[in-house]
Symmetry: C2
Subunit: 331 residues, 2 copies
Amino acid sequence: MPELRRDPVIGRWVIIAKERGKRPLEFEKVKEANSVQGCPFCPGNEKFTPSEITAYGKAGRHKDSGEWTLRVVPNKYPVLQIEGSLNRQGEGIYDKMNGVGAHEVIIESPDHFKEIPELTKRQVEDVICMYKERIIDLKKDSRLEFILVFKNRGAQAGATLSHPHSQLIATPIIPKRAKEEIAGAKNHYEYKERCVYCDILGQEASSLSRVVAENEHFFAFCPFASRFPFETWILPKFHSSKFEDIQKNEVGNFAGILQAVLGRLDKVLDRPPFNFIIHNSPLKDPHVPYFHWYLEIIPKLIHVAGFEWGTGFYVNPTPPEEAAKFLREAE
Amino acid sequence: MPELRRDPVIGRWVIIAKERGKRPLEFEKVKEANSVQGCPFCPGNEKFTPSEITAYGKAGRHKDSGEWTLRVVPNKYPVLQIEGSLNRQGEGIYDKMNGVGAHEVIIESPDHFKEIPELTKRQVEDVICMYKERIIDLKKDSRLEFILVFKNRGAQAGATLSHPHSQLIATPIIPKRAKEEIAGAKNHYEYKERCVYCDILGQEASSLSRVVAENEHFFAFCPFASRFPFETWILPKFHSSKFEDIQKNEVGNFAGILQAVLGRLDKVLDRPPFNFIIHNSPLKDPHVPYFHWYLEIIPKLIHVAGFEWGTGFYVNPTPPEEAAKFLREAE
């Protein structure tokens, strides 16, 4: 069972994933497994993953058979486990609890080589619908407080398998980063009685220097205070604090802009490693006027170094206005 | 002039370093310059760095000549610049200011190949004394609020030159990370009337499962809630909120434990890339009973991925008790 431990100064929780337990010289050898041979996410190899949670595919197909178009499985090496109780306890001055939660893998399509920009729009819509379905399902588990949907592409971004996939991790506490963001947004709302993200949308739509793409429901841009080169956010133009409330016609537009933006990043940066993350409300929060969900894309182009770790202050060598210009012109 | 920009939600400042301006395909090619040929930090090549700020060396030597044992120069590509005024201003809903500050490089010795564990103890004492001197000197500049002393070793840890060196960056605002740490420590103090770091020392010294090394004045251990495998902290055993108050006899013991700990990390992890950071009080803070300076070492063994970026929640695959055991046994 993984263990959650709390830093006694900062209050940050850390997951000590004993089951993944690495000995000193095992670190360097970790490379992304790239080949189709033995890929546990390719059709026909279903037996190499834990038994599926759900899937889209042929009507009447058997569980864990090959006739799927999208498949969700538990992570084989989960950072948090679904069984058990939290069992909060002290250890001297420290606090810890059991690593209860969920860690799932969304295998985006049967094709080992097709990333989101190369899939059909319908396939990308399925990926988005599955994110929504999984959140709605896991919400029923009252032990869970927060779900992060994310994607790691490339070994530099933390991926260990190259077959295109996304992940979700459900945590039994609201993470520090989410709390900070919500507190900041709430603060703005209390002062101005406006959603800060709606304000950002308004400003970006009027200046246009950082815009990357837009459609009926979504707006993509490189944020004013981008921490990383080519960092890009996709925001719904309508106010919504919960990703899982996305409607059918919005799903199509979200799929379209996600394909467009990732395609341009691939073109401009020659298929960079990246992470994307959906920033969303905590599971038990009601609809609120101050928070606004969005997807953040971080290409992995630079190494985070001592200054960033020590201060939380990021140094970005590419102004977002320049990054946005490259991405706009890549259309 | 670099530009400081504030994230409107989180309040995090970012440095947009336009002068370092990177075009899309320049990122991949950045590798650490490893050879002695043309190394700007080797003796005889002083003309390849900006003119020195200070140095230790032969009595009566000329500035920027070769007869030095330790040399401090401005960073050639500074993330913050010493000239100019802050000029805080708005840009629509956003806040920005000029990137005023200091960015210096401490070239630890003339030897291109000797890292801290291989230097003489006297040389490491000089490095520590220089950190102290530079902080005391820069403190006189009232525009500056905080100084981070740090070291990046290896390309994976953000180093671009391999000749052993440390750096310092002085910022015109107190960084978010420092504020959080001080707020956490203050909170503990208000509740318990004890320094949280002194409490941690007490607990670690009694359990011993995470201890790495100790001497008369210092204690090294892998923290209970380590974010990274083999993360190690070195704390003074005496309470002190300001690194720059370190006394002559303490400098010797700090040099000794730093050499021992870095030497063991090199042995156990086969010379890993790493960052070290000195956590210190803001420049204008008085001596306080709630904060305690320390040095944090982060070996770069794993990639930070989507989950960590999205939640601030770290997954560490090596329990600190195991890491400490390997480091103790490497003596």
